[in-house]
Amino acid sequence: MIELFFKPKSVAVIGASGTPGKLGYVIVKNILDSDFAGDVYPVNPKSDEILGYKVYRSVTEIPGDVDLVVTALPTPKLTVATMEACAQKGVKAVIIESAGFAEMGGEGKVFQQQIVDIARENNIRVMGPNCSGIVSRNIVTSIYPMTKKVPDGNVVLIGQSGLLAAGMASDIVENESLNISHVCSFGNKCDLNENDLLEYFGNEDDVDVISMYLETVSDGRNLTRIAKKAAAKKPVIFLSGGRTEAGAKAAMSHTGSIASNAKIVEAAVKQTGMIMADDFTELKDFAKVFSTQPLPRGNRVAVITLAGSVGVNVSDLCAAHGLELPKLTPETTEKLKDMFDTPVGNPVDLYYSVTKIGFTKTLETTFPDAFRDPNIDAAVVILAGFKYTQEAVQKKIIQKIVREVGKPVVVCMIVGYNKYKNVIMDEMGKELPVFPSLISGVKALSKLCQYGMRKQSS
């Protein structure tokens, strides 16, 4: 039944509007601009036609079946009435985007309960209220105008925040090289919650990475069970907001006084094999690495750099995040000795090789030799944004080597990121994780290594 939300054959938009700028207009426009191929039924008692679609006065007047209803009505009372109409029509999936429910307290809580009651009685699944639903290539229900199509990616982003599926989704699609396929916000989760979605996407073969943002855990026992299963199959990246002492009580035991919501959530993340992110940027950064790179066998990293100082800094960061920098084997060192004036170490400073054979050639020969070394499981490649970097980037040298060798790489940019951002994003970003800072690349790689090692030991 969850599938009805993501792959409906027909969708009705209640509160649809013909006035550009209004929420009810944006939703219809977003659906129109997506790849949605089914029937679209705008519902509005006062219009006849919106964006070329015939408008219905009520959901019960729609002639065919309605798989999914999206509502953005101005008052909770109207939303409750719509739920009743949906029940009458036999609709099984409803996205309620309007706010003014339990998050407001008081009367809002009562309205939300009425919606839940109608849903339970009629076997309807509800996403929301106070959310912006789904942003995917197949369907966009968000109230934020999308200017680009969602890519056909392998990353799913789910969470409570409406902003997530609205602003953040469109920002990712427009400005970031993240292979997103779905962004989904479920707001107050009066019915459908993270466990439903985690289970659904955990079983979807074309989803490789799940990123999740939660402010409240609906059912932690179930989350632990479901996340364990999902994380065994694919990486689940988890950002927990609102890690406060709320819900803590006057404990009588030592254990009780030390336990906090944050600690318990952290424990659940470790126990289930999920990957903890500390902010929204990490939620995306980690997804970028996991969705593009092969899993490493271990945590032994080669640092490949053009500048000694940066190599030193990265080495420190690697050590702080549980990554080892082993020596290269004597065979590799011997092989590379002509390219270096000094014995090649780790960090591998490509500067000498570049002066001898040029940047592109170095990336094609010296770097892969070090990367292939049996002591090495993964590499941090530090690039500076120069003209010759652009050339190497456009030739997709690193991507080819990653594919060939089967080990993961993160690319950290030190200078020239802004200048070459577009080139790097367009040419490299969808296949290689590129980071504007050393720490972000190292942290993401360390999570990849942890997950890779955990997967092998289980």
Binding site: V217, G220, L223, A251, M252, H254, T255, I258, A259, Q271
Partner: protein
């Protein structure tokens, strides 16, 4: 009384806090090693029991109404002979009667002075969302100040227990720091799994505290324990 009987009778008395002796009986029954603890309801009995257990002994107030025993002056340790036991009895009674005039005092719990080991804490609480959760950490100051503890959601398996013991910052102390005996970490891991299995199959338990637990080169012993039942 057996564990289920203890819980049943506490329920009948509308009581959620079990006494130390009750808690240790329950834990001992599931296979967790606790220092032997026997109730003495008179001064004479306390002396006789101390002889039986062997000196030195510890006396602790046993009352369903006094949960924070030390705060009430209800604990005397390292008592070496009859005279010290008698004096301790008098002092404990005077102090506890003073602090809790209405408390129903059943006597003192007499227990053997456990051989010192590495001090650890194990516990269980019920989280509103995640349900029962087990905790492990180093005892004493480290738990009070640094809160250097690890949690896992019940049920845990051996692997989780291994991770719990491995992820506390003070794990070096378990490995035998500066000539101290290393702790029997495998035994601690088994205790955690046993604790998890117990709370998983026993509804109605709100909190469990085993603090301190002395970990030895071989084995470990629960020195003090507390069990709190959920309010019904």
């Amino acid at each position: 009384m057996t564990g289920p009987e203890i819980i049943k009778s506490a329920r009948a008395e509308k009581r959620t806090v079990l006494t130390e002796i009750e808690a240790k009986t329950i834990l001992g029954e599931i296979g967790i090693n606790c220092t032997p603890t026997i109730l003495a309801s008179s001064k004479e009995q306390a002396v006789a029991t101390s002889h039986e257990i062997g000196y030195p002994v510890v006396l602790k107030i046993s009352s369903k109404d006094i949960t924070h025993k030390s705060d009430a002056g209800g604990v005397k340790v390292n008592l070496a002979n009859k005279g010290e036991v008698e004096q301790a009895w008098d002092e404990i009674m005077a102090s506890c009667r003073g602090a809790y005039p209405d408390a129903d005092i059943e006597g003192v719990a007499v227990q053997a002075m456990a051989e010192m080991g590495t001090e650890v804490i194990m516990g269980m609480i019920k989280d509103p969302s995640f349900g029962p959760v087990v905790m492990f950490g180093l005892g004493g100051v480290l738990v009070e100040v640094l809160k250097d503890v690890s949690f896992r959601i019940v049920p845990i398996d051996k692997n989780d227990a291994v991770e719990m013991c491995g992820e506390i910052k003070g794990k070096k102390l378990l490995e035998g720091y500066r000539g101290q005996d290393p702790a029997d970490v495998a035994c601690l891991q088994d205790m955690l799994v046993t604790l998890s299995d117990f709370v998983d199959r026993t509804p109605g338990i709100e909190e469990i505290d085993m603090n301190p637990v002395f970990a030895y080169k071989a084995g470990a012993a629960v020195v003090d324990a507390r069990i709190i039942l959920s309010a019904e």
